[in-house]
Amino acid sequence: MSSNKKYWKSVEELNENSSIVETLKQNEFVEEIPTDEFLGDKETLEATSTTRRDFLKYIGFSTAAASLAACEGPVKKSIPYVVQPTEIIPGVANYYATTIADGFDFASVLVKTREGRPIKIENNALAGSNGNANARVNASVLGLYDSLRVQTPKQGDKAISWGTFDAEITKKLKDIAKANKKIVLLTQTYASPSTDALISKFKEKYGNVSHVVYDAISESAALDAYQAKYGERGLADYDFSKAMTIVSVGADFLGDWQGGGFDSGYAKNRVPDHGKMSRHIQIEANMSLSGANADKRIPATPTEQKLALAKLYSLIVGGSVSGDLPEHIDAAVKNAAAELKAAAGKAVVVTGLQDVNAQTLVLEINQVLGSKAFKPSTPIKTRQGSNAEVAELVADMKAGKVAAIIMSGVNPIYTLPNASDFAEGLNKTELSVAFSLKEDETSSLVNFIGAAPHYLESWGDVELKKGHYALMQPTIRPLFDTRQFQDTLLKWTETEGSYHDFIKSTWNTSILGGSSFNQALHDGVFITSVYAANGESSKTVTTTESTLKDKKDRTWVGGVIHGAAVGLGIKDEDKDEYLSTTKTSTVSTGSATINGVNIVSGVAAAKALASSAKSNGLELVLYSKTGMGDGQQANNPWLQEFPDPISRVSWDNYLTVSKSDAEKLGLENVHVATGALDGSYADVTVNGTTVKNVPVLIQPGQAKGSVGISFGYGRKLGLKDEMKTGVNAYELYANFETVQDVTVKAASGMHEFACVQLHNTLMGRGDILKETTLEIFNTKDKSHWNPIPVVSLNHEETPVTSPEVDLWDEFDRSIGHHFNLSIDLNACTGCGACVIACHAENNVPVVGKEEVRRSRDMHWLRIDRYYSSDDTFEGDNEKKDGFSGLFGDNGSLGGFGEMEHPADNPQVSFQPVMCQHCNHAPCETVCPVAATSHGRQGQNHMAYNRCVGTRYCANNCPYKVRRFNWFLYNGNDEFDYHMNDDLGRMVLNPDVVVRSRGVMEKCSMCIQMTQKTILDAKRDGRVIKDGEFQTACSAACSSGAMIFGDINDKESKVAKLKEDNRMYHLLEHVGTKPNVQYQTKVRNTKEA
């Protein structure tokens, strides 16, 4: 029966006798429409001369006129400088060395500017240490042009001038100081000698001031351990290029462990040289970059890791440890200990366990091993936060003991686990000031926001490691009315001069020791002479100078050509020995005095560690993602769209769960379409704090009994709606411990992931990614582990490389340049710096989560990640080759199905794939308008203006590297990323066209860069040296995995790599003759 409910529109209707209701029912319009006014008066109507026909005529004419007028080109204005700065030539790039120091990423970089706009970040080859820009640093240039930056100082919501800002705050500060109440400076790690000096000045002036350093992701345990042992706050430095055996217990040292930047050293020994390469054993819970690169990876929960480390200690140093480990881990630990002992000085152990005992043990082990890779004499200074101090501060604030808080570079409301306590404390302060780039979670709650400049607009200095200094210089005039924290401190302490002058005087008095400040500014780095003042060192110093000179020459002749992939091929074992003399002396004196005590404390630590290793069910391991880090760049669309190297998911963070745990908890992942992955939601509870609806991703290799969530997502304020992705894992970061006991409960609903690679395994297709073991590599012939595919010609097996089986005629490419790119799968760590560098160099658009989910991502360069379905890829190959028939135990029908599932602990390989620039390109032959064609220099050209968008080429490409512009991605409100506003578009590279809708695009092998190199050489009238040719990806690759060059130059590295036994081409049997080569991955395993 239908309902008898009465619906009413106004109360009046309820009154049955209302006359108004009755009238309204009769009349559609309440007021009469004045039709008479324009139709009733016949005379006026007839008097008007505009007939219907006339009207149509006018319409027609105006349309035609408008379209004719459209044929006229628009008038373009050109406005030259009134006084042109001498160093700027329009159209020529300038490079400046500077340093990023945002509290999480610290690196010496080279900034490319065009017409005064920074447009790209590159590696600083002069830096020596920390000279490598990771994906986030590469992307940081876009943060400069963020439209949501704070553009002027503010008091509450009101924009004020700096004068008012200073006056108001100093007045309050003076009052507070007079009352002798507490003032707190809460800052990021600056590691800056000048800032330190300034802060002590500030303390002097205002009396009761304390300075609390706060790292969002804390390394406090490691800092405490180092401080206890060496009496100085810092992190032990490691040089992995000295290590031939590396054991890592939960340390993602290829990621952000201890500030990162270890990958280039690591990669040096990963390339087999004279039959030798390093061996890397990783014991970890989450699948990390380091685990993916390890020769042997042992999944273990944090509890097991603690025990394993204690065991390792007892096996190497001594003492006994109680506690049981699963048998396979126990065996692995024993194995590892034996290998470490055998390697002795060339061995190193690292751990990422945030536990003072664990960190102490590692310091001990490395000392006992006499590890050359272990460098406690030059501690890393880029993390200085102390958990205890931060906790105390929050407690003090809550208790109302803090009268004024001045924050810079931190966002505690977002990053603190007990953010509500902090917010409460903030309310109790009399004065709160935040220097911030954004109106973020914290700065929107404070009294005053100091609009802070981006690091590319600031002065600064950083002590990256002890004695290793770096300078930060502005590369652009401040875009907005901003002033940096340090300049403000100068104002508040009533000190004359700018921060620039202050840095200069600090450096001249206490750092440079007579060296030139301008030279240090030019290089971006300065290493104090104490660290280069010994017999052997003088030799090294001269070599550095010679590279420097060489570099200068090249700077003069044609812009800066950064010295190839950093450190590539530098085999000089002795190169860093200049440190050894000082180092050994420090270490020996250190151990002579407190040696005994240390050992005892070490044993005690091992016991404490072992006894602390208890878990109640599931353990949560918090980590930072390669793309997002600690989350301060969350409004960076490049980083949001950057697919995670391991999970290949963009625009999200998630709970990583092992397959068996997922089954137990009732969590699942469903493949919906290419690019579209759906995952269950789960509620995650730690210590009574619940984060609801965390999307779940089943992660192969995740240790059973552990789950992981990454920091950096779930931001709420100071970013565009599109970037408000993921959940905030800081809420679970109780007591700043990355390991937490956790309960996970399935929640209803499915989350939509944008995942660019759903096919996870290689299915035994060894011709895509060739991999072998060091043993086979050393003992067997090339044809065994890197065979050239054969095809049948007249019933004879003929290699595909021979001309008889080729469909095409070969062109003669022996004259001029012939570019090749070599990618060494052994050296590639999958860090993704190249992906972002490619984005920046080539104006690659950001398409957004929805489009990525539709498999319409625009990355010209992707890093494919493959899991093995067996224990090893070798096992996969054997399994596939062993198939016989369709059915049965060895049947291919069921067998292939099984092979689609990665193993519990799979081997992982990374493979960067971009346009392969085939000499016999399938795309070129199918283009109906000849928009894509081949150049003599080996590059496959793409003329966008000629393309009509048939997409035949993409369909015919065996490598799936062509990208279609489904939409106009610039100046389109539907894609509200950086290319939708004038500010964001300032990052575009003026040498590369911005593609429009309906056009196919792809990697050009950075033809704009090769052409530039050639032009510079022509202008100077010289021959081009090897290493001058670079692409954006090869220049960004700090591990030396990507080598670019001219194979017609027989002495070039890439020409030699082409003749290397490890060289192969992707899908060689297709016969496309690519100009991108890959070097077979060799794993240092005996088991396989």
Partner: protein, 431 residues
């Protein structure tokens, strides 16, 4: 007679000695200075900072000697000393020297120890000249020219008019003759033969189907040709000659004064863009060139050009009266003439420095352009034609040595064209 001769002789001697004396006096007055020599010396050494009638970096110098002696009682010796070593004079404590020194912002005049006394005297002689009235002369010249032009025009018109009258008379005569003859014929009853009526030509044409078809085809083809031609010139702005905010005459700068293109467009040597010169480049010269003294025409008078220079001063923030920058500049919004589409990459330095192509090859006779316009069509066909025809400038360029030798052997030519070098590949210009 002898005496007479003698007298005559003495008279001659007297006369000749008089002549010699006169000659000597002129020589003596040459000691006083030769204005012509002085002018060239002045232009070479002094003109950068001094003008005759206008205060610039240094004071105006017209009749400086007279002025100094009248007002300050300083003689020529003082001037010699000052020119050779002004800072020495200042240091010696000379009051006027110090006064001048302070008046001009404490910038000492460059010392010219290489100038001899004669040189300085020559310059002083030049400065002592009366001010000429060039404007009047020019006006006279112009009126003379226009006079000449008008007389020419008059004669032509007269001749043409006479001819026209002659033709009219002739036609009238013929008509009258014809009329008279007809009258005679009627009078004498002679029948004039009637011409048979034929179908008119256009009717015959319309009736001829073959012709109609041919014409229709021709009409269609030609209209297609013109439509195609029209469409393909859409976006081609050859001859584009916009009005610029400042009337900058390339003819005066590059043509009359022969300034090298790359003096102002210096980035063409090293950059992809030729660069519009920044105003400080203009001011390099225009600090001292505050007026136009060249040829003028009714359309572009001296006042007009001087006004344009004032526009430059306003834009650069230069106060001509105070001879210093006010700091209030207004950047000039030039209208860009040569616009390549975004998807075409063009690099000036490749063509200018590497290939040594003259600017005029693409930009046309800029030195004759009073108003700049786009000379070349800037179409792809135009680019490619040139690449096909132009040889690569390989001489003394180490980069080309190997590749040129190998490629020319391959193509069997002595000199490679840009096209053979790879200059026709899509990706060389489109990326």
């Amino acid at each position: 007679m002898k005496q007479v001769i003698h007298r005559k002789l003495s008279k001659n001697i007297l006369r000749s000695s008089l002549i010699i004396l006169l000659a000597f006096t002129t020589a003596l007055s040459a000691q006083e200075g030769d204005p012509a020599k002085g002018k060239s010396l002045f232009n070479a050494n002094c003109a950068a900072c001094h003008q005759l009638d206008k205060k610039m970096t240094g004071p105006a110098l017209r009749k400086v000697e007279q002025r100094l002696s009248d007002e300050q009682g300083l003689d020529r010796e003082w001037i010699h000393a000052w020119v050779r070593n002004s800072s020495g004079v200042i240091k010696s404590g000379d009051s006027y020297a110090n006064k001048i020194y302070n008046e001009y912002g404490g910038a000492a005049m460059t010392a010219f120890p290489q100038l001899s006394d004669d040189d300085i005297n020559n310059i002083l002689a030049y400065t002592a000249e009366e001010k000429a009235a060039p404007a009047q002369n020019a006006a006279v010249a112009v009126s003379a020219a226009s006079d000449g032009g008008s007389t020419n025009g008059v004669t032509n018109e007269i001749i043409l008019g006479a001819l026209a009258v002659l033709f009219i008379l002739l036609a009238l005569g013929l008509y009258l003759v014809n009329k008279t003859l007809r009258r005679f014929a009627v009078a004498q009853d002679i029948e004039l033969p009637e011409t048979a009526k034929r179908t008119p030509l256009w009717k015959a044409f319309v009736q001829n189907q073959f012709l109609m078809i041919v014409v229709a085809i021709f009409f269609l083809l030609s209209s297609a040709y013109f439509v195609y031609g029209y469409l393909s010139q859409v976006g081609v702005d050859q001859g584009y000659q916009p009005v610029q905010p400042i009337h900058f005459s390339h003819k005066i700068h590059a043509g009359d004064n022969g300034i090298d293109c790359k003096y102002c467009h210096s980035s063409a040597r090293v950059s992809k863009t030729s660069g519009i010169p920044s105003l400080n480049v203009c001011m390099n010269c225009h600090k001292s060139i505050y007026e136009y003294n060249g040829e003028t025409s009714p359309e572009y008078s001296k006042e007009f050009y001087d006004g344009e220079i004032q526009k430059l001063y306003a834009a650069a923030g230069w106060s001509d009266a105070d001879q210093k920058y006010t700091g209030e500049s207004k950047p000039v919004k030039w209208v860009r003439i040569h616009n390549l589409p975004d998807f075409a990459y063009f690099n000036h330095s490749q063509h200018v420095t590497v290939a040594g192509v003259e600017c005029q090859t693409c930009h046309g006779p800029v030195e004759e352009m009073e108003i700049m316009y786009q000379h070349a069509p800037l179409t792809m066909g135009w680019c490619i034609n040139c690449h096909r025809e132009t040889n690569v400038a390989v001489k003394d360029n180490a980069y080309y040595e190997k590749i040129h030798e190998e490629l020319s052997k391959k193509y069997g030519v002595d000199e490679l064209t840009a096209a053979q070098m790879g200059g026709l590949e899509c990706g060389k210009c489109h990326y």
